[in-house]
Point group: C2
Chain length 193, copies 2
């Protein structure tokens, strides 16, 4: 028997988008503004859902890896923006553990708070910090399903040494979700894509 | 800027292992026995941690896609066995939604109950049934971390139309975990790999 590989490829436009970004990455709000802009661009380009994420080296103010939702173009239900950004960052660094010795402390910024799957993925990734823009309820407000997260999910991440920061650029991020819904973007049976 | 693709490749031996399996897939316990054997083989071959999973078409008694833990060989922390099996099944079927019209109801069998990430991934995948062999506490007993799952995670899946069956071949599956720990297999800082 033979089985296919799994391959996830970022959209072609993303390299130029990142390279031409003039906003900087040296503060939390600038990094969040970049990720929200990336989510907006993903919708504008028709390359996926209204979700983006990125891994940064905050000490150096550097982008390590971007991610956008690739569920439909890749036929892969786990290709949420956070999983994509973390996995690309792990390819860039060659480390399955982004918290490994020799790496600077890395940060994941997500345009919407992670769903149950992505929340669960964060501790395994080795990032030390999670910055969230829109809230889960902003995604649920347009019919997306965030899944079964424990009520104390932030504390559960904190107990694993991960700092969680919420509501950075929340309004801008929620506006992308609203605009996506208003233009009839697919909600896919209430599953978050 | 340029960013690498994410590529996950099953171990070379897995095609032959599946093709030569004589145990059949027509009952739940046979499918579970296959998945436990796959987890044992992954350890014996040195190709990853003591975890395996597979997607089946239970009505036809057919294997759709196997998965093993590829975290270390692929440098990808989200490449748990369940995510790999679901993603390969989605490549095989060409559908990000394994519950899509035109597909038979599909089942995920996991050698150990899913961690928080994999539990969160199940509803997005479209499988209609989850069969678990070892319990989460069997993995925790050898130092693995299952992550922050809600106490009522089975009910949360059931509410999304997914039947959960536990403890099928539990002793055999737990024995693989115990043997892995006894031979000094890496536990990786308490993270489940």
């Amino acid at each position: 028997m033979q089985f296919p590989d799994i391959q996830l490829t970022l959209p072609e436009w993303i390299g130029d988008f990142c390279g031409q970004w003039q906003g900087g990455f040296d503060t939390e709000s600038k990094r969040a503004a970049f990720v929200v802009a990336l989510s907006r661009e993903n919708v504008a380009r028709g390359s996926g859902g209204p979700f983006a994420a990125a891994v940064f080296d905050p000490q150096r103010g550097m982008l390590v890896a971007p991610g956008v939702n690739l569920v439909v173009p890749s036929a892969c239900s786990s290709a949420h923006a956070e999983i994509v950004a973390l996995s690309v960052a792990q390819q860039v660094t060659g480390a399955h553990d982004l918290g490994a010795a020799g790496l600077p402390p890395l940060e994941l910024v997500s345009s919407t708070e992670p769903c149950a799957m992505c929340m669960g993925a964060v501790p395994w990734s080795g990032v030390r910090r999670l910055v969230c823009c829109a809230r889960g309820e902003d995604a649920e407000a347009i019919g997306m399903d965030e899944g079964a997260k424990p009520a104390n999910w932030e504390a559960a991440l904190a107990a694993r040494g991960i700092t969680v920061v919420r509501d950075v650029c929340r309004e801008e991020a929620a506006a992308v979700l609203q605009a996506y819904a208003a233009q009839g973007g697919p909600i896919y049976n209430g599953r978050k894509l």
